[in-house]
Every structure is written in C-alpha cells, then in structure tokens.
Amino acid sequence: MSTFAFLGAIEIGLVFSLVALGVFLSFRILNFPDLTVDGSFPLGAAVTATLIVSGVNPWLATAIAMVAGACAGLVTAFLNVRFNILHLLASILTMIALYSINLRIMGRPNVALLQQETVLTPFYNLGLAQAEVKPIFLAVLLVIVVLLLWRFLVSDFGLAMRATGANPRMARAQGIATSGQIYTGMALSNALVALAGAMFAQTNGFADVTSGVGTIVVGLAAVILGETLFRSRAMLIILTACVIGSILYRVALALALNTPALGLEASDLQLVTAVLVIVALILPGVRNPLKSLIRGGKS
C-alpha cells in the first residue's frame, strides 16, 4: 500500500471515528439503537457544503451542521419518548425523511467544494502536503472531541445519562429525568455524526446525498472492533478505542482493497463491512451493541 493510500485510510478512519463516538453514545450509553445517523451524516455534509458555497465562514457552517444533526437526533428521540414509537423504527423514519430534506438543502444530489475555502484551507500553506495536513487536522480535532466527551461522561450529568441507558427505573428513582437524558444524548450523538459529515465534505471536497448509506454499520464496526481490542472499563480508554477501532478498520479495508489477489473493488466496501459486523455478531464472547437487539439476550 502506498503512503498516499495509507494516509487516506487514516483520514477517512478519523472522519468515521466521529461516527463511531456518536454510535457509541446512542447504542452503548443510552441503549438506544439509532439509525438516524445514515441521514444525519449526509445532513452534516449537505448543510456544510451548501453554506460554504453560499459564502458562509466554514467554521460557522460546520457549527450549523452540528446543530442540524442535533435537531435530527431530537426528532428521533421525540418520536420515541413522546409517542412511544419503537426506537429503531423512530430512527428509520427520521433517516428516510432526512433523505428528502438533504436533497432540499442542496437543491441537487451533490455539491462540489473543490475551490472553496474550508476549515482546512489555512493549514494547507504551512509547507505540508494536503494529504498530510488532513489527517493531522482530524487527529487534533479527535483529541479535543474525545477529551470533551470523556469529561462529559464522567460528570454527574454524564453519569446520569449512563444510568438512564443502563437502568432507567433506578435512574428515575434517583431523580433523573430520563427523557431529558435521552433527548440530550441523541442530540449529542447526531451532532457528532453531522460533524463527521461536515468533515467528510470538507476533506473530500463534495457532499453527496447518498454518502450516508451504511454509516451506521461502519460506526458499529468501529465500536465493536475497538471494544474487542481494548477491554477496559475506563471511559477515556473506551472512547479512544472507538477512534482506534475506526482507523484500524479503514486501514485493514485499504489493505484488502490494495491486495489484487483478493479481487476486491471499492464498491465492495459495504458488503465487506456487513460481513465483518455479521462475523462480530456470530462470534461468541464479543461484546456487541447489536446482540441484545437482534438476539434478545443481554450483551
């Protein structure tokens, strides 16, 4: 594998580690299987790209994209909490609705960002190649996000969120308003996924309405891989594991795609991801957020 392909894998792995962190929040912390992410990822990309093209500051555009993602999460949470719609179905409904909304936002299926200023532009003039700047920028961003998320999850408020997912009855008895925690957690989770979409658009130079397909599975694959490699109960390590899981997954994928003997093409990516998650589901002893959902047992 060339250095270029390797850096590219790291870069995309870092982008999707934001998805992994979001998926970790919904699936693991809140015990809320949320498929909204397949819609909030392209939502983040669509909002950022459209705003940047119309001349808005890229940082502001990214922030607005995160707010949009948070709103998508709130819609799913609202459907579930207020109307008691099954979490999985509620999230699918939001996801489907977002497909149309994303098309409306962009006005067309994709928006190119090639000559536009992005949050990365100022760093391209520091003497490093673009292919090097992108992963470094993303790595710094991820360090900040992981540290903030860690501080949040070990706070009194974050602990209340963890209790909400782990034992809602006990949480309520301790005075925790569980629905408020679900709203906050889902908003945060989808804001992170939208941030991933915003970064995807700015590092790849485009936003595409179909770019969200399979986001949830990629996020889950990263979470599972991270948890399998790092068995720890320390929150900072668990969060870091999500990031490393995402990067390793992309590097492994790049290796597979660059091995001619396997005969894989880039378009096989979703199939490979699905197979990987299925293997993780079947393997005994692997902690898996989907296991409790699909098999009915406790993960």
Binding site: S155, L159, R162, A173, G175, I176
Partner: protein, 264 residues
C-alpha cells in the same frame, strides 16, 4: 410528616382489565416513625409505595409531604424527598457501573446534576468510609462492577445508597424478600441501624408477619386496597404472630392459605 388522604388508584381504568389497587387510604406518618406494612399479594402494598414515589398516578386523593402537596409531582421531582430500596437487588443499582459510580448517582439524588466530575477524591473518601460501615470489605472494592457483588451485598449497598442524600421518607419494598434468611437478617439489622442513627421516617413493605411485628414502631395491614388494621405502641408490643394471623383471617373472612403469607 407524610400524609395520604382519600387516596384511590385504579389501573387500566375503563377497560375489562380495570383493577382498583387502592380504594381509599388515609394514612399519616409522623416524622421519625418506622412503619411496617403487611398484606397478601394484591393487597396494594407496592401500589402504596408507588403512590409515595409518584410512579402510580392518583385517581383521587392527596399526597402531602411536609406540608407540600406533591400529588401531581412526577417521580424524578419527588426524588429529593423520597428514597427507595427495591425488592430486586438488580433493580436498585446499575450492574454495569462500578460501586463508586452507583454511589455517586445516589449521592446526587434530588440535586441538580452538573458537569462537575462525579467522582472526586472527597467523594471517594466519604464513600469508602460509608462502605466500611457495612463490614463487608467493600471499602476496598470501590471500582468493582456492581454486577460482581452478590444479591445481599448489592441490597446492603442499595440501602447505604439511599442514605447518601437527604430524604423525608425511606421506602423499603420487600427489600429482603429475594435474599436468603441469613443475609436477609443482616440487611434488616442494617435497616434498623440506619433508621435509628439517621432518625429516618421509613415505610417498609413486607410479606413476613414476624418482620412486621419485630421491626419498626407501627404495623399497618392492607387488604384489597384498604387499611384494615393499624396498631402501634403497647398494643402492638403485646401482639404476636398468631394474633396477627387470627386478625388477618377475620379480615379476609376465610381460612388463611398457608402460602399466602410467610409466618416466620
């Protein structure tokens, strides 16, 4: 002072499954009193607790805690006044979280949960100190997952957790029913100790007539959603299990089913 007046609770109202769980209960518990509530299955004991916590919506009546009418308050809002220990040791704690994390959750009961660290050195030290009171050696296992403890240990920790924050009343929902007799006795003694040393107002639901007479200051018997018997003081001291059985039989107007209550 806790007072219930004319409390009615009906589940699934207007459906064929309609159940009148509480049919008019008036009950005043002065501060510092420890009340044992007894009754057979379906007598409304658990519903009575849920009325106090805010988990069971009232059809009629009022719940007043220290002169505040909390009848319409949802459970989380009442949590600062009401502490609860569940029957199922799994229900009252988070098994995936550590002992100290569970304690931090309980210590913040009823107060605003902010973004400050949940586990500080000060808190850890006080948790360690409190755990040592149990005499179970748990003070050295703060970071262990709650799920690694036995049912009895978890129940003892649940009880301890209930006392970490202020309350107006402690509710004990058959909190020793799921434990083996030796551990149950330990948890009951612990309950007595906490109620005495913290001067708590407590309401303990039990299946056991022995416990209903041996623990607390007052015994209340529920039957079909009503209070049928309420005794305290010298009158209560003179009572023994056979008397209670006799009373119960009279109330039910039928022969007592051996399985209905544990006499021991």
């Amino acid at each position: 002072m806790i007072s219930l007046s004319d409390v009615h609770v009906t589940f699934a109202r207007g459906t064929p499954l309609e159940t009148k769980a509480i049919r008019g209960i008036d009950l005043s518990i002065p501060a510092g009193e420890f009340v044992a509530v007894i009754g057979s299955n379906g007598a409304g004991k658990s519903t009575l607790l849920n009325v106090l916590t805010g988990d069971a919506p009232l059809e009629r009546g009022r719940v007043v805690i220290d002169e505040t009418d909390v009848s319409t308050w949802p459970a989380p809002r009442r949590a600062g006044m009401v502490a609860r220990v569940f029957q199922d040791p799994m229900a009252g704690t988070c098994e995936g979280l550590s002992i100290e994390e569970n304690m931090a959750l309980a210590a913040a009961r009823g107060s605003r949960r902010g973004l400050g660290a949940a586990l500080t050195h000060v808190r850890r030290d006080s948790f360690r100190e409190r755990l040592a009171e149990l005499g179970l050696g748990l003070e050295n296992r703060l970071g262990d997952r709650m799920g690694q403890l036995s049912g009895g240990q978890r129940q003892a920790v649940s009880l301890l957790m209930a006392t970490l924050a202020d309350m107006r009343i402690l509710l004990l929902d058959e909190h020793t029913a799921a434990l083996d007799p030796r551990i149950a006795a330990f948890v009951l003694e612990l309950t007595r100790r906490f109620v005495e040393s913290f001067k708590l107002t407590a309401l303990m639901v039990t299946h056991s007539m022995r416990q209903a007479l041996d623990y607390g200051d007052r015994t209340v018997m529920l039957h079909e959603g009503k209070i049928v018997f309420d005794v305290s003081g010298a009158e209560r001291d003179a009572l023994d299990v056979p008397h209670l059985v006799e009373l119960f039989t009279k109330v039910r107007g039928e022969q007592l089913d051996d399985d209905a209550l544990l006499l021991g």
